[in-house]
Symmetry: C2
Subunit: 354 residues, 2 copies
């Protein structure tokens, strides 16, 4: 999987640069956004859009959404090289959401450097992030793949549907973050993941099915595969945060237990509150709801998660989701090589170490 | 015009409530956003979306974008009552942009009360504002007007085009706001208005033409009318800020000269910097570029704008744009009553007093 990701990356970045070049001039603006009524100011767009977005892209990111799209369209019998512009749609949308999420979460760091709003200001970062919600849709309008009109309409309707649910998911996440108590169920947590993370995965898969002219049944299986994989990915994130912390909670000066520290309502936390001894559960609830905690309290909370079996529970749940995802891969009817790549992808997102 | 606006308002608010009810429950979420994979949390959506959005809507706003849409479709021979859901598209988009703009501008007040992010927090306000960028597009997917597929595709492409340019406009505005010096031309300023304010007007007009099955020529005239009117509206705003300030600059305790205070690069400021005596222009440049100014300095700047003839210049420019807008109305071939309403609308946005 790592090789597939690395192999595609330069072509993907070139395709993104076709949509948003590193250097903005009036010709690009006129060609891409249409003629101005009066006159554009390319300098503003350089500093307010191209600079921050390429700063973020150049910091890294696996571009896995674009690669997953390319693997899928190839499995559906299309030439992925011909469809690179469409692969950029979910990738650019994703980068838009992380810029905006970082403002909403008051994040300090993104990909090892200060979050974009810390570098460029909230106003510039937000407008750049929001611009990335609409910029990739131009691909459908410009239509380099010469898609039939019904495919383009289906793509717009699909994007409308999924991007609406993305905002429901983010709304749930924000609401819970602002609540002191943990009142939600495991099912509500999984729904938040399915909406917030899953819908971008669904966009990848459904767009691949749509541009490759697949049936609605295939589109549904591809979407379910991507959603399940995305939810498993999110649970993998939650597990990593606790496991890495358990491993190095004693290391001097290292941040650990960040999710507990932020009072995040992860699947592990919800499980532990339901399954731990009442006294432990009460203690965990207190630590999660506190404004600040000592390192000792964080260690205590992590120990409760561990002894309640919440890490194992979450891993089993992620593996179940991955197994379900693979069933949908089988229903896709793609060649064995593609099926294997898709399955490896699901394993990769759970077993990764960062 | 005021009567037309007031008469439509209750029906428009009912139509908005059909899309985003004041009270959120699981049935609404399932019907509007589709079945959940697991289970929704309606409480989060109530507090994170419906509450803040209806708070904003109930504070006022003229709903002029929706009304203009209804006047246009009626002029194009359609029954406006049947198309109320489509009238909500630009209105909801507009409210989304003002929530986000207020975060970007660090605005304190909106419609006489604290800006939404001051009431609900930046995270909730931003996600609600962004959700409003996609929520109204569901109207096209749900298609209550039973539009032909090509009209729906045209609407999506139009929205993609215009919402991209909206973000270019906001990007220019933000970039200039962050610059101390005024380096831009009148044409660049007008382009910023055409993109930032004009594109939402263009959405109103083009959507009306599209749902009413008008020719591309008619759509272009309607769009030009709405864009010119919107730019005139923006210049009207800039004039109001200076005129109200000139009138009450002596009043005790009242804020005045806000645009100058914020160093805003308005058409009036750009004109004065080009046309005032060199010494006056230098002084104005210094006041606009300063981090803070005394009331005396603001009064001085306002006096320079007045003596350079910048208020008159801006008013003449707005009237020229309004006259141009009316020429496009003539080309629409609508009935005299509609034509009169459209012309009155253009006058209304320039001559308003708030």
């Amino acid at each position: 999987m790592r090789e597939t990701l690395a192999a595609w990356r330069p072509a993907i970045d070139d395709a993104i640069a076709d949509l948003l070049p590193r250097e903005i001039d009036a010709d690009y603006l006129e060609d891409f956004f249409g003629a101005p009524t009066y006159v554009y100011d390319p300098e503003s767009i350089q500093r307010g859009l191209a600079d921050p977005v390429w700063d973020l892209l150049d910091r890294g990111g696996k571009r896995w959404r674009a690669v997953l799209f390319l693997v899928l369209v190839e499995g559906f019998g299309e030439d992925p090289e011909e469809l690179l512009a469409y692969a950029c749609i979910p990738e650019i949308l994703h980068n838009g959401t992380i810029i905006v999420d970082d403002v909403e979460d008051e994040a300090a760091i993104r990909r090892g450097e200060p979050a974009l709003h810390r570098v460029y200001g909230e106003d510039v970062a937000l407008n750049a992030g929001n611009a990335l919600y609409f910029l990739p849709l131009k691909v459908l309008e410009r239509d380099p793949g010469d898609l039939p009109a019904e495919a383009r309409l289906a793509a717009y309707e699909m994007l409308t549907h999924e991007l609406n649910r993305t905002h429901l998911g983010q709304g749930m996440d924000i609401a819970w973050h602002n609540e002191r108590d943990v009142r939600i169920s495991r099912a509500e947590y999984l729904e938040m993941c399915a909406c917030k993370t899953g819908c971008l995965g669904r966009i990848v898969a459904r767009l691949a099915a749509i541009v490759a002219g697949q049936s609605e049944a295939i589109e549904r299986h591809a979407a379910a595969y991507a959603e399940l994989t995305s939810v498993a990915f999110q649970i993998g994130d939650d597990i990593l945060d606790v496991e890495n912390s358990l491993g190095r909670a004693g290391d001097f000066g290292k941040e650990f237990g960040n999710d507990v520290r932020e009072g995040k309502k992860t699947l592990l936390a919800i499980h532990a509150l339901e399954e731990a001894d009442p006294a432990d559960a009460e203690r965990l609830r207190g630590i999660l709801g506190a404004d600040t905690n000592t390192d000792e309290e964080i260690r205590e909370a992590l120990a409760i998660l561990e002894s309640a079996g919440s890490v194992e529970y979450a891993r089993e749940r992620a593996l179940e989701l991955a197994a379900e995802a693979r069933e949908h891969v089988d229903a896709l009817g793609v060649d064995p090589d593609t099926a294997e790549k898709l399955a490896a992808f699901t394993t990769f997102v759970i077993d990764r170490d960062a």
